[in-house]
């Protein structure tokens, strides 16, 4: 402990004996005892008032410190705290923006992927029906060509197929053969050959398309059915709401042709 020669508050070089109660200084415990004795002097009253003020201030300050976290901070501390908080908020906002962007990217990506997949599936189904890879069903006609004498020529049958195609038939089956764009009909020694296999009468055609259009097209004078009758056969056309083309054919992978992007036309 430092040995301060001067008392902190009242300096000894200012003795001011006017208010001192004792002419001779009383020190130590006796002084303390004297001071503790309540007397109605000016000094005691003043001290009491000042001590009351001090106690009041201490309690107020303690309560203030207890209840307020931020209000006791200084302006500069508050400013730095505000800066820090603002920076944190900015960073978090940036993160939010990034994540939202990623989220929307992923969402649109999956949406467009789904759309592409759906379109591809639809396209694959349509191509499958048109190329004969998939069985099909729908409204159509069943044409039965009876040829007891075997006199209906391959040309007549080809004519019938062409007429079906012209009338908009989308899937055609002859007996158990699926007829597509690459099908051919030739006349052989032992009968009519379609796509490499011999087809024997009666010829049962199943074609999916608008039934009335196909029936009308087949029945025009000098048309396919007329040719069959000229050849000596009979033909029967039934329009049905639901026919099934069950035969399929394998589609060979194109050997020379490769798909070309349609966008750079």
């Amino acid at each position: 402990m430092s040995t301060d020669p001067q008392p902190a508050a009242p300096s000894p070089d200012d003795p001011s004996p006017a208010g001192s109660p004792a002419p001779t200084p009383v020190v130590g415990w006796r002084a303390a005892g004297r001071a503790l004795r309540p007397r109605a002097t000016r000094a005691q009253a003043l001290t009491g008032v000042l001590c009351a003020l001090l106690g009041f201030a201490i309690v107020v300050q303690v309560q203030q410190t207890d209840e307020s976290g931020l209000t006791v901070l200084r302006e500069s501390e508050l400013v730095s705290l505000l800066d820090q908080t603002t920076r944190q908020a900015d960073e978090l906002q940036q993160q939010v923006n990034e994540l939202e962007r990623t989220h929307s990217e992923l969402q649109s990506g999956s949406t467009s992927r789904e759309a592409a997949l759906e379109a591809a599936t639809r396209s694959a189904a349509a191509q499958g029906i048109l190329s004969g890879r998939l069985p099909a069903q729908g409204p159509g006609v069943v044409v039965t060509v009876s040829d007891p004498t075997g006199s209906v020529s391959a040309l007549t049958l080809l004519n019938l197929l062409e007429e079906l195609r012209n009338a908009g038939a989308e899937a055609v089956q002859l007996n158990d053969l699926r007829l597509t764009a690459s099908s051919y009909v030739v006349g052989g020694d032992d009968g009519v050959v379609v796509d490499g296999s011999v087809v024997a009468p009666p010829y049962r055609w199943v074609a999916i398309g608008d039934p009335s259009t196909i029936a009308t097209a087949l029945a025009i004078p000098g048309g396919a059915l007329a040719k069959v009758q000229i050849d000596g056969g009979t033909a029967d056309v039934q329009q049905q709401d639901q026919v099934e083309v069950t035969a399929t054919r394998a589609v060979a992978e194109p050997e020379h042709a490769t798909p070309r992007s349609a966008t750079d036309d």
Partner: protein, 110 residues
């Protein structure tokens, strides 16, 4: 004795009234309290020295409080408020310790 009673009265008044400190005074009250504590211990030491004078006590109490608050206010204006209030608290703390040391020597002769 009256001083102790006054202190208790002040504490009770603070607890009962629960006043709110004006925002302008908030930085200065803690420093003022420490300064007043310093004056109180100085007064106690003067009592034990046998040279206590109420006028000196009053003036030192009030001037301690005012000067401490003034220093902190000046520091706030200069932008070194927190450092300067730390300095004031350190100085007042040293004074309190030395006063307590003198009181101890008076009472316990050690």
């Amino acid at each position: 004795m009256i001083a102790v009673i006054g202190l208790l009265v002040g504490v009770v008044a603070g607890l009962v009234l629960e006043p709110t400190i004006p925002a302008a005074l908030q930085p200065y009250l803690p420093i003022a309290v420490v300064a007043a504590l310093d004056a109180l211990f100085g007064g106690l030491r003067a009592v034990l020295d046998g040279i206590f004078d109420d006028r000196v006590f009053l003036v030192s109490f009030l001037s301690n409080v005012v000067v401490a608050a003034l220093i902190v206010f000046l520091g706030d204006q200069l932008g070194v408020g927190s450092q300067l209030s730390t300095g004031v608290v350190v100085v007042l703390g040293i004074r309190i310790f030395s006063n307590v040391a003198a009181i101890r020597r008076h009472l316990f002769k050690a």
